[in-house]
Amino acid sequence: MSKSLFDKVWDSHVVKKIEGGPDVFFIDRHFIHEVTSPVAFLGLKNRGLSVLYPERTFATADHNTPTINQHLPVEDPLSANQLKALEDNSNEYGISHWGLGHKKNGIVHVVGPENGITFPGATIVCGDSHTSTHGAFGAIAFGIGTSEVEMVLSTQCIMQPKPKKMRINVNGQLGKGVTPKDVALYIISKLTTSGATGYFVEYAGDVFENMTMEGRMTVCNLSIEMGARGGMIAPDETTFEYLKDKPLSPKGDAWDQAVAYWKTLKTEDDAIFDKELTFLASDIEPMITYGTNPGMGIGISNNIPNADAVEGGVATYKKSLNYMGYEENDSMIGKKIDYVFLGSCTNGRIEDFRAFASIVKGKRKADHVTAWLVPGSHEVEDKIKEEGILDVITEAGFVLRQPGCSACLAMNDDKVPAGKYAVSTSNRNFEGRQGPGSRTLLASPLVAAAAAITGIVTDPRDLL
């Protein structure tokens, strides 16, 4: 039977099949961070187990780190304790550790690709659902729970039934001001947050072929928000170009051999998918969410739908709008906002800062808006400075913070206060996600920039 990209990578990592059960699935690269790993290490200790392949695991601190004054001791004792646990565990088991203050420290899904840890055809897991990001390279990458982190540490394998396959095609040319984030939010709005549950997605079509790696990472990152375990895009010259000469990418003959293999990682013409969907690029406009899950998104010029026009229960829908303080049929354009967050594993890369700067250049931040601009890594931070983006945003009244997950999940001090509205380039608008009682509008860096300047939800195409 003809194989898809997903089949090729999955099947080549099955150590053993269990009748009536999951596959024993080998993991090439494992990322760990301070929040979901401590209990896994505790489990190893309780069972007297060691780490089988420490060289296949990479630790970075990101979820729970401050984004200012990183040179000072972390004030919150619980956070400090988690960071210390990650460092101690990494040292004890011989795992590479990029802790706070390390020049390679940053968000796990930003620093992994930047350093060439991610590669096509790899299987990659992390105790974080946005591990799907790495699928942009043609890897099978997905989030796991802490019990599975313990499995990977001790045996480099997890037990997984092979998911079903879905292909999502988006063809045509994206319009002005329409970004990879909008493509993803558009797809999620069509599928709902459970539309791809049980599936692994392959993104195909000219829109993805023409995307940069940063854009592909944004799209694959958001696969989990439609319920999919992960999403992937076939590797091509764009992928190889990005990975060449990265610190941990193969070098010399090993590189040539790897690329020769990576070029075979394409879905064959007559491969069959359990589900296939096709969208048109020209139907997509800048998106914004109005509710409390990422599926509750609309084109920015549209009104909030009526309860009877959406799938699912009316009670849940009304609870959501009530939380947001919005009404059915409201226009999103013109809604007042209080906070803007640029960053996260979804949109914390250099292109996202370039996009943000393209709007705010020569303008001023609205006085009542608090803006948090948080690069995904020190490498992104350095490029922001080198490219003159720091000057542009500083002149516009913005301050650049230090790398980390920050207000995406608000585990650190970057919390949006109760009742306040934040336009956020992150990935989740769940109740309280950005701080207890906070209200999140998910959008692209362009939409975030436009809102930061005007203080209200604004169509970025008016400012481009």
Partner: protein, 198 residues
């Protein structure tokens, strides 16, 4: 043995008929700072359960003394979002051993199975019947029979069967987990790893 064995569970149930209950609601991120698996039940559904001043929200089901039990019955797409296993730990630590829904998010379901909480997926119609039965009489018992793979509303006798793969079923019945299995095939794993290019 890694966790409690699961065989037949007969219990009253707690109804939570909301859809898309995400793991940020089950346990908010600010309660993920522990380095041990302790006390997560106290913060289960924290922001739905308590006001800012830590007083209980009277209208939330966990604060309603009428409803209790070892079974949580949720709405469609239960456990979406973050992969945090803390959500499953919180459900377990609070005292639930089984979660029933007409649709589960993948990672949450997997995490539950890995710690010995049984996720039981039922049809939307049967889910409706369970909610109705509980709302009619909060003392309604639900029987979850893992060996037979059935779920029964005791008061009405209505029954449905549910799916679970035989490997996981065996694990749940015996209280084994995947690490027990994987440790036993380490040799095969090492042979496999030796053949990899990168």
């Amino acid at each position: 043995m890694a966790y409690d064995k699961f065989n037949i569970l007969t219990s009253t149930a707690v109804p939570l008929p909301l859809e898309n209950v995400d793991t940020d609601q089950i346990i908010p991120a600010r309660f993920l700072k522990a380095t041990e698996r302790k006390g997560f039940g106290d913060n289960l559904f924290r922001d739905w359960r308590y006001n800012n001043d830590n007083t209980p929200k009277q209208d939330f089901v966990l604060n309603n003394p009428i409803y209790s039990g070892k079974i949580l019955v949720g709405g469609k797409n239960f456990g979406s979002g973050s992969s945090r296993e803390h959500a499953a730990w919180a459900v377990y630590d609070y005292g639930f051993r089984c979660v029933v829904s007409s649709f589960f998010a993948d990672i949450f379901k997997n995490n539950c199975l890995n710690i010995g909480v049984l996720p039981v997926q039922v049809s939307p119609e049967f889910s409706e019947q369970i909610f109705n039965a509980i709302y009619e009489d909060a003392n309604t018992e639900i029987e979850v029979n893992l060996p037979e793979q059935t779920i029964t509303i005791k008061s009405t006798g209505a029954q449905e069967s549910f799916d679970i793969n035989t490997y996981k079923k065996d694990n749940m019945l015996n209280g084994f987990d995947d690490i027990d299995y994987l440790q036993n095939i380490k040799g095969e794993i090492e042979t496999f790893a030796n053949g990899l290019m990168l």
